[in-house]
C-alpha cells in the first residue's frame, strides 16, 4: 500500500483525532518527537532527534502513587496510572529497536512493570526506515539495518511516490484497516542506505567477558566527566530512581531517570559505594551495553543511534571503545591482577 505524500497531513490529522501522535520535528532549537497538531510539519529528512522517544513510555519523571492520611487519620496509598492511545510516527529503526530493549526490561524476567505496560499496550509504532544517515550512525554494525524496522507495528519506506506501508503486527494490521481511505495501491522506489561509521562487533562480547579487570577501563575513564549526558540521550538507558515530594499531609512518590554515571546512584546508607570512582561507573555503563544486557536478554543494549557519540562533551565515543576492545590484549594487566588477588 502507498500513502501519497500529500495525504500525509490528512492521515496525521485523522490519527490525532483519536490518539496522541508524536512525529520527529524541529521545535525551536531542538529536534524531538513533538506532539502533532494540525499544521506541525514533521521532518523526516533530519537524522536522529536530539532526544530519543523513550520518554513516551518511560517519562523522565513519572508519578507512581499518592499517599497521605484521610480525615479519620487512616493512611491511604493511591496508585496513579495514566496512559493514552499514542502513535509514534516516523520513528527510525534504531529507536524502534530501543523499544524492543525496553520491552525486555519492563515486561519480561519476572515482573511486568505496571506503569510501563499500559503505556506500551496503547502505543502504535510506525517506523520510517532511514532516508539518510548521520556521520555518527552505526546501527548496521550493531546488527540492525537502517532499511528495515522489524519490531515496528507498521513500517514506512519513503520514495518519490510517497510512503510504502507494510503492517508487521496484528496491531499494525488493525491500524492499517482504519487508514484505508488515505492509502492507494503501489510501491515506493527507494535506494537502500548504509552507515558510513562502521565498527566490528565480532568477538567483542567474548572479549569483554574476560576484561572486567582490564586496564583499558582506567585509560578510557580518565576523560569521563561522569555527567549524565550519554545516559539521558540514550534511547535504551532505562535506569531509574524512586523519590518523593511532600506537601503538608499529601505526598507523591515518583520514579525518574537516573544515571549509572552519578556517584549517588549506588551509594548506600553509611556511604559505602561499590562504584565510588569513575572507572567502575564507566565500566558498568559500557559492560551493561555490550555484555551484561546480552547475558540477560540476548540483545546488545546499544542500537547504534550515535546520540552519545554526538553529545558526549569529551568525545568518549563508544565506537572508539569498541575498536579499542577489538584491538586489546585480553591478558594485559593480568599479572598485576594475579598479585592483587593474592594480596586481597
Amino acid at each position: 500500500m502507498l500513502l501519497a505524500k500529500d495525504r500525509l497531513p490528512q492521515l496525521l490529522d485523522h490519527l490525532a483525532a483519536q490518539a496522541r501522535v508524536y512525529v520527529p520535528a524541529r521545535v525551536g532549537e531542538d529536534t524531538r518527537f513533538a506532539l502533532y497538531s494540525s499544521g506541525l510539519e514533521p521532518d523526516f529528512e533530519m537524522v536522529n532527534t536530539s532526544l530519543p522517544p523513550k520518554d513516551l513510555l518511560f517519562p523522565q519523571a513519572q508519578s507512581m502513587y499518592r499517599y497521605g492520611f484521610d480525615d479519620n487519620g487512616t493512611p491511604f496509598i493511591d496508585p496513579v496510572h495514566d496512559s493514552d492511545n499514542t502513535v509514534l510516527f516516523g520513528v527510525r529503526p534504531c529507536d524502534v529497536q530501543s523499544i524492543a530493549c525496553m520491552d525486555d526490561v519492563f515486561l519480561t524476567m519476572g515482573y511486568e512493570d505496571e506503569f510501563y505496560a499500559p503505556k506500551r499496550e496503547k502505543l502504535l509504532i510506525v517506523a520510517l526506515v532511514c532516508n539518510n544517515v548521520a556521520e555518527s550512525c552505526f546501527c548496521d554494525s550493531m546488527g540492525l539495518d537502517p532499511n528495515s524496522a522489524p519490531y515496528a507495528d507498521i513500517q514506512l519506506r519513503q520514495g518519490s511516490e510517497g510512503f510504502e506501508i507494510v503492517a508487521q503486527t496484528e496491531k499494525g494490521q488493525a491500524a492499517l484497516s482504519d487508514w484505508k481511505s488515505f492509502l492507494s495501491d503501489g510501491t515506493a522506489t527507494r535506494d537502500n542506505v548504509s552507515c558510513t561509521l562502521k565498527v566490528d562487533m565480532t568477538g567483542i562480547k567474548d572479549k569483554l567477558d574476560e576484561m572486567y579487570e582490564h586496564p583499558i577501563w582506567d585509560r578510557i575513564s580518565k576523560k569521563c566527566l561522569t555527567c549524565g549526558t550519554c545516559t539521558y540521550v540514550c534511547p535504551t538507558c532505562h535506569c531509574f530512581d524512586i523519590s518523593q515530594e511532600n506537601r503538608m499531609k499529601l505526598g507523591e512518590r515518583f520514579r525518574s531517570w537516573d544515571s549509572c554515571m552519578f556517584s549517588n546512584y549506588t551509594e548506600m546508607a553509611g556511604h559505602h559505594n561499590p562504584r565510588a570512582g569513575k572507572q567502575p561507573r564507566v565500566r558498568q555503563r559500557f559492560l551493561h551495553k555490550l555484555c551484561f544486557f546480552e547475558d540477560r536478554y540476548g540483545k546488545t543494549l546499544c542500537v547504534g543511534c550515535g546520540r552519545c557519540v554526538e553529545k558526549c562533551p569529551v568525545a568518549l565515543d563508544i565506537t572508539v571503545l569498541i575498536d579499542q576492545i577489538g584491538a586489546a590484549d585480553v591478558a594485559e594487566g593480568a599479572e598485576v591482577l594475579e598479585g592483587a588477588a593474592h594480596g586481597n
Binding site: 536530539s50 580518565k222 555527567c227 544515571s259 568525545a315
Partner: protein, 283 residues
C-alpha cells in the same frame, strides 16, 4: 598552529622522560575529522599523539583535579584553562606546585560541524594564558569586545518577557549536570543537588526544578566563574548558560567591584566575604 603542535610534542616527551612530570594533559585526535578529545599522556613515546589545532574545544583545567596525587602533572593551558587553574588554586582545590603549565596562546576554537568559531571563543577576552611555566608560540593580541552584549538584551526585557525567557531555557534542560561536571569552579565534594537527605533539589524534571538547579548554580559559581564557557559548550541541549553567568558577573562587578575571576591565584570571593562597605540596597 602546527609549529605549536610540534613544540608541544617535543616538550611533552622531554618533561615525561626527564621525570619532571608524570603525565601531560592535552588533546589528541578523535574519531572524526576536525575532532579532538582530552588526552592523558604518561609515556614519552606517546607524546606524538598530542594534537593542537583549532578544534581543541575542551578546556583542560578540570582534569588536573582528577589527577591529583599522581605526582606533578603538566597541563596545556590557554587563557581559559589558565584562569581555571588560578581559580582552583584560590579555592584551595589545587596547589600551584602540583602542576606544570604549558602555556599556549589561542586564536579561538571552531565547531567541527559548522567550521565557525565557538561562541565561548568569540566572547573570550583572554586568549593568552594568564599563568604558565613555559610558553609555546607567540602571544596573540587580545580582542576588544563587549562581552555583556547579550546580558544587556536580557536586562532590556520586561519582567514578563524575562520570566518567559528563563522558562523557555529551563524547560529544555535535561539535568544531566554536564555543566557542573565540566566546570573548573564546580568543585564541591558534595553538590547541593546530590544532598538528597537535605532535599534541596527534587528529582522531578520540570521547569521549576530545572530553574532551581540552574539559577542556584549560577549564584554558586557567579563570583568565581572564569568565563571559560565550557558549561555552554558541554550542554547537550545548547542552553545559553554563559548568558546567566555573565549577568551575575556583571552585577557582582557593579555591586562589589568583583572584577574578573582567575586572572591571578589570589582572587576574591565577593559572595563569601563580608565588608562593612558592601552595598546593601535591600536593607
Amino acid at each position: 598552529m602546527s609549529d605549536i603542535q610540534t613544540t608541544l610534542r617535543t616538550r611533552a616527551a622531554e618533561l615525561l622522560s626527564s621525570g619532571e612530570v608524570v603525565e601531560v594533559i592535552g588533546w589528541t585526535a578523535g574519531r572524526f575529522d576536525n575532532q579532538t578529545t582530552p588526552a592523558f599522556i604518561t609515556k614519552a613515546e606517546d607524546a606524538e599523539s598530542l594534537v593542537f589545532n583549532e578544534y581543541c574545544v575542551n578546556t583542560t583545567s578540570k582534569f588536573s583535579l582528577m589527577e591529583r596525587g599522581l605526582g606533578k602533572v603538566a597541563v596545556c593551558v590557554r587563557g581559559c584553562d589558565s584562569r581555571g587553574i588560578n581559580r582552583m588554586i584560590t579555592d584551595n582545590q589545587l596547589k600551584r606546585e602540583e602542576v606544570h603549565l604549558i602555556g599556549i596562546p589561542c586564536t579561538g576554537m571552531k565547531d567541527r560541524k559548522t567550521g565557525e568559531e565557538l561562541l565561548k571563543c568569540r566572547e573570550c577576552s583572554y586568549r593568552n594564558p594568564v599563568v604558565y611555566d613555559e610558553l609555546i608560540g607567540e602571544s596573540v593580541t587580545e580582542p576588544e569586545l563587549n562581552r555583556f552584549d547579550a546580558v544587556e538584551k536580557l536586562e532590556a526585557m520586561d519582567q514578563a518577557e524575562r520570566a518567559a525567557f528563563f522558562d523557555s531555557v529551563y524547560e529544555r534542560c535535561i539535568r544531566c549536570y554536564a555543566c557542573r561536571e565540566v566546570c573548573p569552579v564546580c568543585t564541591c565534594k558534595s553538590c547541593f543537588v546530590d544532598q538528597l537527605a537535605a532535599g534541596w533539589q527534587g528529582k522531578r524534571s520540570n521547569v521549576a526544578e530545572n530553574k532551581f538547579y540552574g539559577l542556584t548554580r549560577v549564584f554558586h559559581v557567579g563570583d568565581r566563574c572564569v568565563e571559560c564557557g565550557e558549561c555552554q559548550r558541554a550542554c547537550p541541549m545548547d542552553l545559553p548558560l554563559m548568558l546567566l553567568n555573565r549577568k551575575m558577573i556583571k552585577d557582582l562587578d557593579l555591586l562589589f567591584e568583583a572584577g574578573e575571576a582567575g586572572l591571578d591565584a589570589e582572587g576574591t570571593n565577593p559572595l563569601g566575604t563580608y565588608d562593612v562597605n558592601d552595598v546593601e540596597e535591600f536593607m
